[in-house]
Structures are given as C-alpha cells and as structure tokens.
C-alpha cells in the first residue's frame, strides 16, 4: 500500500500538515495533521508500495530502543486511519 498521488506535506512548527492538490483535491477535501512519527510513516508510504511489516522493519532499523510490538500497533492504527480517510491505496 502507499499514499495516493496528489498529496502535499508541509512542516508547520512541530507538526506536519498535508492536503490533496490537483485532481486528487476533487475527491479529498480537508487536511491531515501529523506529528513527527506520523510524518515519518507518511514519508515511508510515499516512497513506494509497502506492507505494514516493511514499515515496521524500517522503523526498527532507523530508531533505537523501540519496542517492536508498540511500533506494530502504532503503524497498524496509523495505516487504518489513512485507509479510512481514503488517503492510502491498498
């Protein structure tokens, strides 16, 4: 799965905001508000088609002292929110 084309992410203070532009703006109104972790996962999903497991593996490599079970549940919840919001194509 990956983020659908047409989304733009901007850093605003400590947060990251994303909107749909171009053709995508016709089907997705509103905006997404992410913290640092969310933006990290968002960028991974923008890089290409990934499974949840691949995202978790990458996070485990990039961060130290993180609990895999916690990362798995964070990723799972995050991905579910994006799918429900019509932002991710599976």
């Amino acid at each position: 799965m990956k983020i659908k084309s047409g989304f733009v992410l901007e850093k605003v203070g400590e947060e990251y905001l994303a909107v749909a532009v171009g053709e995508r703006a016709k089907e997705f109104s509103g905006f997404v508000r992410l913290n640092g972790s969310g933006a990290y996962f968002w960028n991974l999903l923008c890089e290409g088609d990934k499974t949840e497991e691949e995202i978790v593996d990458t996070a485990m490599r990039d961060f130290v002292d993180v609990d895999r079970a916690l990362v798995e549940s964070d990723v799972s919840r995050f991905v579910k929110n994006l799918i429900d919001g019509g932002i991710v194509e599976v």
């Binding site: 733009v8 901007e10 605003v12 203070g13 947060e15 905001l17 994303a18 909107v19 749909a20 532009v21 171009g22 703006a25 016709k26 109104s29 905006f31 508000r33």
Partner: protein
Amino acid sequence: MTELYELRAVENEIRERGSFASVTKGASMRPLFRMHRDMIVVSKIERPLKKYDIILYSGGEGEYILHRIVGIRDGYFIVRGDNNYFKEKVTHDRIIGVLTAYNRKGKSGSPDTFAFKLYSRLWRYIYPLRYAFVKTKFILSRIKRKLF
C-alpha cells in the same frame, strides 16, 4: 449548513491547534495561487497585522476568504484579492488567521522571504496599470459583442 460547519471547523482548528491547511480554492489570488494547484497554511495571529499580509476571514455567508491587506484604517482593514479589482472592508472580528506558509507548484514557500515581499509590493505597485488593462479588455470585449 455544510458551509457553516466548515467555517466553524476552520475557526476551531486555528483557535485550538494553532493552524489550518487547505488546497487553494477560487481564482481571486492569482497569479500567486491557482485553484486546486497549491496549498495554504493559515495560523493564529500572534503579532499585529501589517499591509501586504494575506489573511483568512469570514465572508459572511458561512464561507472563508483568503485575501491581501492593502490598507489599514481605524477599526478595520482594506483587503483585495491579488486577482480582484474591488476592495472590501474587513473588521477585526471577522479575521480568523494569517497566511504563514504555502506550497506553490510543489515548492514550499513563506510570505516572510524577500522574494515574496518583493512580489507583494511590486504587484500592488502596478495595480493602476493592471486595472487599466483589465478595464480596457472589458470595454473592447463589449464593443466586439455589439459589433458582431
């Protein structure tokens, strides 16, 4: 009702979270922004507003508008879209936020850069020329319609 909800949601986001983002809508801020192409970030106002600031304000019919301050008066602002040829009076109570960042044609931007400030001033400076050009075009098109 949908539009009223939208305005409340925008105001709540800015009041409670400090910021709001949207894809650009309408044509009133061309050539700076083009409908559906760009992204605007509007934040809570934390310093006195100045001439050339781009503000988000309530349009009075459940909608919100993003236009530029072109004059400051006692108790209200004079605003105009970069692509508009009419002014509007906006009192402080209608203002929801100020543009603090944007993404234009895929590139991040800020209204605090020298280039942006230069564009804002130049664009305002040539307003009389732009107005004359648009008015002439309008008159010519009316003449053309009457003749043919």
